[in-house]
Amino acid sequence: MFLYEYEGKFLFQRLGIPTPPGKVANNLEEAVKIADEIGYPVVLKPQIIGGRRGRAGAIRFAENQQELRTNFEELSNLIIHGKKVEKILIEKKINIKHEYYVSFLLDFSHAKPVLIFSSEGGIEIEEIAAKYPQKLVTLYLNPEGDLQPYTIYSSLNRVGIFGDNAKKFIPIIMKLWELFSEYELILAEINPLAETPEGELVALDARIIADDNAEFRQSYIKEFKASRGGLESVEYKAKEKGLSFVVIDEEGDIGIIGNGAGLTLATVDIVRLLGGKPANFLDVGGGASAERIRNAVQTLLLMKNLKKIFVNIFGGITRCDEVAKGLVRALEELNLKVPMIVRLTGTLEDEGRRILREVGIEAYNQMLEAARKVVMG
């Protein structure tokens, strides 16, 4: 799960990593109040996941209330990365002498945590790597062991930061490591880590990816998800029912249900390649019960343009009879107005087909055949 900047900064504050004074505003009124509290000049940062807001011209400054009002209204009407801006973070504007970059991330290929530091920050890490390779240091860490301050010193020394200059980075980087390892993060990035003219370090941005799988022992994940609204809230509620639901295209008209991430992705692909407009990705996971299948169908009904539902199941750990029972329940309970095209094969497929036949659905055997029926009718 990608955290919003304001969620990430909430965690920073909890661990004692310095951030600019500020709060997130849901509307103009709140924004004015926050700005009055922290004092002008302020910066307005739309809360959108995905980064690169600066380039999109979506970060604004305000010297006074008038500027705040104008900018807030403009930002509220923006669509960034296809999403409407719902929350705007209002923060005290910080004077910047220099920008650094620091992050911890799990390197999936090497199965190890890695520390990345650069004496140049403020632009995306890929750009830093391309422009200033000699100012970037990457250090693989032991997943079992502790990170020790000396490791950070060595890294800083390698990019030409020595002495007292190096010393002041230690507490922040150690706290970022604490956050990263204790909260079991996939990415914990501060970019830029700003140095003020007074020599203080402040985390101006927070880019954090949490591990959804750790939710059972990491309560903040549940809390953040529960506090979010909109489509993300739907995706979260689906997840609570064991469904991986992602909206791909709010305008799409074909609802997709599959079992297994790969098969579901391939189903989305085949529908699109045949000329259809898939609306979503919905993986019912392994060994889905009838109940879960029924809930999956119900979840699709949230898509406003839905015209057809394509259910593509290859039973392995999933049993075809359970799938069929779930689909029958959905038909009976949900007052479905759109047709359902089902492809069913694998474990206990004969029983599954029989159950579906009783409610008038003839399940397909092959994915391609079923997909053609979905797209071309």
Binding site: E144, D211, R217, A261, G262, D269, D283, M367
Partner: protein
């Protein structure tokens, strides 16, 4: 035999008394797999489908010779179960469990590597050598014996591809579902190297997914000539543009430019590997090689 396992591999089922563990133990036995023992802490002394259950692998190994393990325990106990299998020196350790926290997976993958043991998964369907043994949860009837190896980051999509191959007369030497989590034991490049020296395997199908960089690394191996066997690739999710979200446990977290389907497809094409758009195009592509 193919790689990693064969008909004589003796297997312990960890989490044998659970719903999935018990169900698939039955199917594996029916397929011909030599399941010799089960382990569920707290259930030692009972039996599942005629297989004796023990509290610990240590207890089981006092009574049985065991080579490999398949793990069905819930995600919050998976780290313990995998460590137990590692400490017992079992290999491969097939981790079916989905939803394991990635920090746990990182720990057990490193531990297994340091001891030279092979982990398949987690969140994977397992490994099957058709007509010999199945240490996994795949529906056995779609696989047929032959000389095509399939390695895949996907679960059900693997069955799909195996079925299409089988229907088209292309049997399999071995099929490995490597699992959909971002950190995994056996990777595509590692599996490729094993297959390169496997006399049973003549051709290879790689089923990739968006996210991660293994497909790119695999393409690099082929380009450098370390893998010479004819290979076909398919990338699931190639039409998906939305970034910043994770598609299920697909490991499909896209960071920056890395892991995008275009990059993967391009890497394979540059290595001379045909990349098909649909699973059902795989048989023709294989035959043309």
């Amino acid at each position: 035999m193919a790689i990693l396992v064969n008909k004589d591999s003796k297997v312990v089922v960890q989490g044998i008394t659970g719903r999935e563990g018990s169900f698939h133990t039955k199917l594996m036995i029916e397929y011909g797999t030599k399941i010799v023992a089960g382990v569920t802490p707290g259930k030692g002394g009972s039996e599942v489908h005629g297989i004796p259950v023990y509290d610990s692998i240590e207890s089981a190994m006092k009574e049985h010779e065991i080579d490999a393990s398949i793990i069905f325990v819930p995600a919050n106990f998976a780290l313990s179960a995998v460590y137990e299998a590692i400490d017992a020196g079992l290999s491969p350790i097939v981790v079916i469990t989905e939803g394991i926290p990635v920090w746990d997976t990182m720990k057990f993958v490193n531990k297994a590597k340091s001891k030279g043991l092979c982990i398949i998964g987690p969140n994977c369907p397992g490994i099957i050598v058709p007509e010999e043994t199945k240490i996994g949860i795949m529906p056995g009837h779609v696989f047929t014996k032959g000389d095509v190896a399939i390695i895949s980051r996907s679960g059900t999509l693997t069955y799909e591809v195996a079925q299409i191959c089988s229907l088209n007369g292309l049997g399999q030497s071995v099929v490995i579902g490597l699992g959909g989590d971002p950190i995994r034991g056996l990777t595509i490049p590692e599996a490729l190297k094993m297959l390169e020296s496997d006399p049973e395997t003549k051709k290879i199908v790689i089923i990739g997914e968006i996210g991660g960089t293994e497909e790119e690394e695999a393409a690099e191996l082929i380009k450098k000539g370390e893998i010479t066997k004819p290979t076909v690739a398919y990338i699931a999710g190639a039409t998906i543009k939305r970034t910043g979200v994770s598609f299920g446990h697909a490991g499909a977290i896209i960071l920056g430019e890395k892991g995008k389907p275009e990059t993967k497809i391009k890497a394979f094409q540059e290595a001379g590997v045909p990349v098909v758009r649909f699973p059902h195009e795989i048989p023709d592509a294989l035959k043309e090689l």
